[in-house]
Symmetry: none
Subunit: 138 residues, 4 copies
């Protein structure tokens, strides 16, 4: 189609499966999580908040999912930028951005098609649950 670009974006069915897988992992780890998947336009596709999950994580997991559209996990993004405080301070203030670990890009056939974010546990737990969401697509 002329005048347009074609974008691949995570679909509803896959996003729902990812959130469910992240929360299944949280049950296994014994933590209580919020999980979100955003599409290629940064819009929320699927979300779930476990009973007793931290309210702060509702926003947190959405920021993580959004920020991972960078194409790199939020934890790795921080590791790459941490020695430049202008970036650490700067990007932290962007709407929907965060450097807190637990966001991972959804990459299919080498292309970013969305992001998943999990918040409510330790960073290690958050990352493990996000990864479980990613693994659910395999």
């Amino acid at each position: 189609m002329s005048n347009t670009i074609t974008k691949q974006s995570i679909n509803y069915e896959a996003a729902t499966k990812m959130v469910a897988a992240a929360i299944t992992k949280a049950v296994e780890l014994g933590c209580r999580q919020n999980a979100a998947v955003v599409d290629i336009g940064g819009r929320l596709v699927a979300f779930g908040s476990m009973d007793g999950a931290l309210i702060l994580g509702i926003e947190g997991c959405q920021r993580k999912a959004f920020t991972s559209l960078f194409g790199v996990g939020t934890e790795d993004l921080y590791a790459a930028l941490k020695d430049d405080p202008s970036l650490v301070h700067g990007l932290s203030h962007f709407t929907n951005a965060t450097f807190v670990g637990g966001g991972l890009p959804i990459i299919i056939d080498g292309e970013v098609v969305g992001g998943i974010g999990v918040g409510g546990g330790t960073v290690e737990e958050d990352v493990a649950c996000s990864q479980a969401g990613i693994d659910a697509l395999a």
Copy 2:
């Protein structure tokens, strides 16, 4: 326990089932919906956005779910208040409120325990899908 109140709130499992039922209804009706369930504290518990659903409905369904914590559906709320412009204009400006139909309170044993909202179709479709979510709890 003294100094506390006990709150009954829709849980994750039920909220997820409600969103799924609302979207199953949308498939049946041939519309593309966004659906959200909020808990007794007005916080998002479950959310889903069908492929191709209106972006405006992402915010819309969350506003509807939130507003239905009033204990009455958003459509009925408007009908009850429409002759008092101070209420119509006033409430419309509150963060997360809306009078657009498609939000229904989740009432269990006579008690409001959360709200569901659906947005993206006609008001009739939105209400039918929200109702399907409510019915999934029966």
Copy 3:
């Protein structure tokens, strides 16, 4: 690609051409306009503000472009909904939404691929300039 949906979205080159055409039309009409094009995800792709254009129109044109993702122009949307005040009041408060005329969906091969909005003149001027943007794609 499995797990994804394919979206067609207005591209940068076409969006820039649309803004330029809207502003060329404004020069012809003798008004001073702000013009914006958003993509299928509701994100800003191109924007221009003529010398002396109303500051209010900077936000206005972006709201119009965003709202037109509904698939219908903002003026026609209002005409369709104006007899239901719950919708008029309700939708007007959604972030980035407006019923002010001057927003038009960008439809290519029967599919909405973005939206254009123009603000700063009379509604007639705004609509004429948005239409000139649409016509530039022909």
Copy 4:
């Protein structure tokens, strides 16, 4: 005219040329950028987002352009203030401000008349593209 001041501000034609030059530079560098020019009142005059550019950069480039109204590039601003955490933390929280490099003031005849910001690449790429925008005025 008494009771008024005269402001020199970047005009629409020049701002559009600057955004185009920044994006031409991005094509040359092989990166995908968002570019914005704001006027002396801090209002958006011209904006463009290349196909596939980072969504975070849409907000980022506008913050950079706005902050450069300080009269100094955002990268240099950070370098000047970095040893005073009250300034680093304080300014980072202001609406539309950022210390991320890639914003440059537009200075004509020794006077700040606007700002340009570019976001979506590395800081080096962002600065190079902003500078290309500035150079387009020569």
